[in-house]
């Protein structure tokens, strides 16, 4: 079947969705996807980021489709013509979806572990506005502990439901899901159960935002200060491929994740043992550094090229403050000596 997306034609098999066809073509016309995940059955159709305009339904029925279609769940038809990035209507719809996703999303990227590899950051970089029109209070949720390995930040969640599908399709017993409805819908475990399945860690990899992050990597480093390496080990867990990406800082492995492709989808799912329990470089066979996009945030850590230092043309005193003041506010004697601790307890320090 022949489909044309933004003027570029491609032959695809019947049953291919518009999004898959666009990914085969590649380039700028690939719609962004926040909820669709090619490795998970039944994902997609929810976030509405991948809306496209079908200007010609098919060869048999050339009428345009009146509404914008979610490209991840709309199948290609013979002779279909689709406008993605070329259409103003599509651009506007993506901008509005981005705005909707951001109105209740906290602006905590500076302390979010996902920052730098977050799909929502990419989306708003491409389609977001710098100004907000939302002046109401953002909706928030009470923090919830869902187990020893995974940190849940419900405020950041965009309800793509990928993690629910991971639990459905990779683990034998799902203990979490979507509770409540509307803008109070939230990901939660049933009556505060802990999620402890050998494949539950993949929820972290599929999460497009920082709602599910790795507790063993929490606040350890910004992702762009780590160097990703492909690595593997002999994993005995059934179903685990043992092929991972290890994120290193010097000789230390700070984080282990699945290997992600250009659409941030893992090539293969890995088990929790690989992900959380093997942080010793001796456990791994390191294959070599991982390739990453030239424009990606990870590439900012590329210190093979000369770094420019920013010079601000002003007095040093303004930038640094007075010498004696800097001494005053810096704490030299931490940790305190034993007798000082006693003093401190009595409130005499």
């Amino acid at each position: 079947m022949k489909v044309t997306i933004d003027g570029q034609s491609i032959e695809v098999e019947p049953g291919t969705t518009i999004l898959q066809a666009a990914r085969m073509i590649g380039g700028e016309s690939v719609p962004p996807a926040m909820c669709y995940y090619s490795k998970l059955k039944g994902s997609g159709g929810k976030c509405r980021c991948c809306l496209v305009e079908v200007s010609k339904g098919s060869e048999a029925d050339p009428r345009p489709m009146p509404k914008l279609m979610a490209s991840c769940v709309t199948g290609c038809m013979e002779g279909m013509e689709v406008n993605s990035k070329n259409s103003d209507r599509v651009r506007e719809a993506r901008q509005s979806v981005t705005e909707f996703l951001l109105i209740n999303h906290p602006l905590d990227c500076p302390i979010c572990d996902q920052a730098g590899e977050c799909d929502l950051q990419d989306l708003s970089f491409e389609h977001g506005k710098s100004k907000t029109r939302f002046i109401e209070e953002k909706r928030t949720f009470e923090p919830e502990d869902i187990g020893p390995n995974i940190q849940l930040h419900m405020n950041r969640c965009i309800l793509c439901q990928r993690c629910v599908q991971v639990a459905d399709q990779l683990t034998d017993k799902r203990v979490h899901g979507v509770l409540d409805r509307g803008d109070h819908a939230n990901i939660s475990t049933c009556i505060s159960k802990a999620i402890d399945n050998e494949f539950s860690g993949n929820m972290i990899d599929v999460c497009p935002v920082g709602a599910l992050t790795d507790k063993t990597f929490r606040f350890k480093s910004r992702v762009w200060f780590n160097k990703p390496f492909n690595a593997h080990r002999e994993c005995t867990t059934p179903g685990c491929c043992g092929k991972t990406t290890v994120w290193m800082f010097g000789n230390e492995i700070q984080r282990v994740t699945g290997r992600k492709d250009q659409y941030h989808e893992v090539e293969d799912f890995i088990c929790n043992e690989c992900r959380f329990d093997h942080k010793d470089p001796a456990d791994w066979v390191i294959e070599g550094p991982r390739k990453f996009d030239k424009d990606s945030v990870i590439n900012q850590n590329n210190y093979t090229r000369k770094l420019d230092t920013v010079h601000i043309a002003t007095e040093e005193g303004i930038l640094k403050g007075r010498e004696q003041d800097r001494k005053k506010i810096s704490m030299t004697a931490i940790p305190l000596k034993k007798e000082e601790q006693e003093e401190f307890k009595n409130g005499n320090l």
Binding site: G45, R48, A70, N104, E136
Partner: protein, 455 residues
């Protein structure tokens, strides 16, 4: 006196019970269909009748039936949508409560037409007492041999179940209803596949409103052509209207489609005019999700024709000057009503009932409600009115199911027709703070404050 099809026997004492209903000629359509007609002939009659879906969208029922996939060999299902939750609509409740056997009869005849051996009535959780009435009616029908194995010796089997929802508006959307019936979270499915191909348990399914199914017995007993003679043009037959608001006689009425809005509103047979001496201000003709009409567009369309109670006439002029028949929730407002407050109330409902699956509806309905709440309480800003317009236009058409559209339309129509009232709220927060604005001081009297004028 106009023709009554559904509520013809409603005043017969004891019509709730099987004996009286049967004595009054009930279940004749089942006998006629099973003994003397083929399923396809029944479908053909319904097609000829021009009966349109009474749940709101007005899709021709016969056409919907003919889409059902009969070739796949999978079992087929008929599901009756009794999850009537549209604010302003209460006709199905009336029908099921006072003449439950009519629905059961319609279900049997329709299931026979579709070849369904297992059919369901999905009723909303708030209608618990009606649920019990239906359960009893089904037990009576079963005892009399109208349900179960080998009905009337024809070899046709039918099991009919009533399923009680848990109080979610979204479960009135047909695919969400099917999900809920399967025991899952009531989230609308992504279409295609349509239920006619893959619905309940991936089997071909038809979902129809209570009123649609209740009209089938009459069509079978008489004929599709007789039904098509009632009404005007493509709006055939009769329609139940749930009338509420500032009118003399609120309640459920059966009207012949084609009656003029003026006659329906003002004749003593129907609503009997306004309940007080206050003038008419606005009308919501088809339940909360259809656009509201200002007084000058209620009895006449924009090009001066009489506005009739039909699908076509009510939507004459598109959304700019028209509305929709919808599910027939006829809400009348006199000039004490505050349109901003009413819009906020509807918006609050959609915010509460959004399923949260897709982004524009989940985030947008909440945003609309918050902004409207601010305006209604005197914290609005001038730019909020344009903001509301912008938000609703971004929700509409971009969602999985029609709930997003239903949340946008009332807001859009309120701004389109009553923009000066929004401006009044924004500019004179002092005058609205006691919540009795427009009661002592109708908007007409203060309208000049919000209008543009040169000094």
């Amino acid at each position: 006196m106009s023709k009554k099809i559904l509520l013809d026997k409603i005043n017969v004492p004891g019509i709730k019970t099987y004996e009286v209903y049967r004595r009054e000629g009930g279940y004749a359509s089942v006998e006629k269909a099973i003994k003397s007609m083929t399923p396809d002939e029944v479908v053909e009659e319904v097609k000829k009748s021009g009966l349109r879906g009474r749940g709101g969208a007005g899709f021709p029922a016969g056409m919907k039936w003919s889409f059902i996939d009969k070739k796949s060999g999978k079992p087929r299902h008929l599901v009756c949508n009794a999850d009537e939750s549209e604010p302003g609509t209460f006709k199905d409740r009336y029908l099921m409560e006072f003449i439950p056997h009519l629905l059961i009869e319609g279900m049997i005849t329709s299931s026979f037409a579709l070849g369904a051996n297992r059919s369901y009535i999905y009723i909303r959780g708030e209608y618990m007492w009606v649920f019990k009435i239906l359960e009893r009616a089904i037990a009576e029908a079963k005892a009399a041999g109208w349900l179960g194995k080998n009905i009337l010796g024809s070899g046709y089997d039918l099991e009919l179940h009533v399923h009680c929802g848990a109080g979610a508006y979204i479960c009135g959307e047909e695919t969400a209803l099917i999900e809920s019936l399967e025991g899952k979270r009531g989230n609308p499915r992504i279409k295609p596949p349509f239920p006619a191909v893959s619905g309940l348990w991936a089997n071909p399914t038809v979902v129809n409103n209570v009123e649609t199914i209740a009209a089938v017995p009459w069509i079978v007993n008489n004929s599709g052509d007789d039904y098509a003679k009632i009404g005007i043009g493509r709006s055939t037959g009769t329609k139940l209207i749930s009338a509420s608001g500032n009118i003399k006689n609120p309640g459920v009425y059966e009207i012949e489609l084609g009656l003029s809005v003026d006659e329906f509103m003002n004749s003593d047979e129907y609503l009997g005019g306004m309940s007080s001496n206050r003038p008419l201000k606005a009308l919501v003709p088809g339940g909360s999700s259809v656009p509201i009409l200002p007084a000058d567009l209620i009895f006449k369309t924009a090009n001066g024709e009489d506005r009739l109670m039909t699908y076509e006439s009510l939507s004459d002029g598109g959304f700019a000057t028209g509305s929709m028949l919808g599910s027939g929730g006829f809400i009348v407002y006199d000039d004490t009503a505050c349109i901003v407050r009413n819009t906020w109330n509807f918006s609050r409902f959609y915010h509460h009932e959004s399923c949260g699956q897709c982004t524009p509806c989940r985030e947008g309905t909440g945003w609309l409600e918050k902004v409207l709440h601010r305006i209604e309480n005197g914290h609005g800003r001038e730019e909020d009115i344009d903001l509301l317009w912008s938000i609703q236009s971004k929700i509409e058409g971009n969602t999985i199911c029609p709930l997003g559209d239903a949340a946008s339309w009332p807001v859009a129509a309120a701004i389109r027709h009553f923009r000066d009232e929004f401006e009044y709220h924004v500019r004179f927060p002092e005058r609205i703070k006691n919540r009795d604005h427009f009661v002592n001081e109708p908007f007409e009297k203060v309208k000049h404050l919000a209008s543009k004028q040169t000094v």
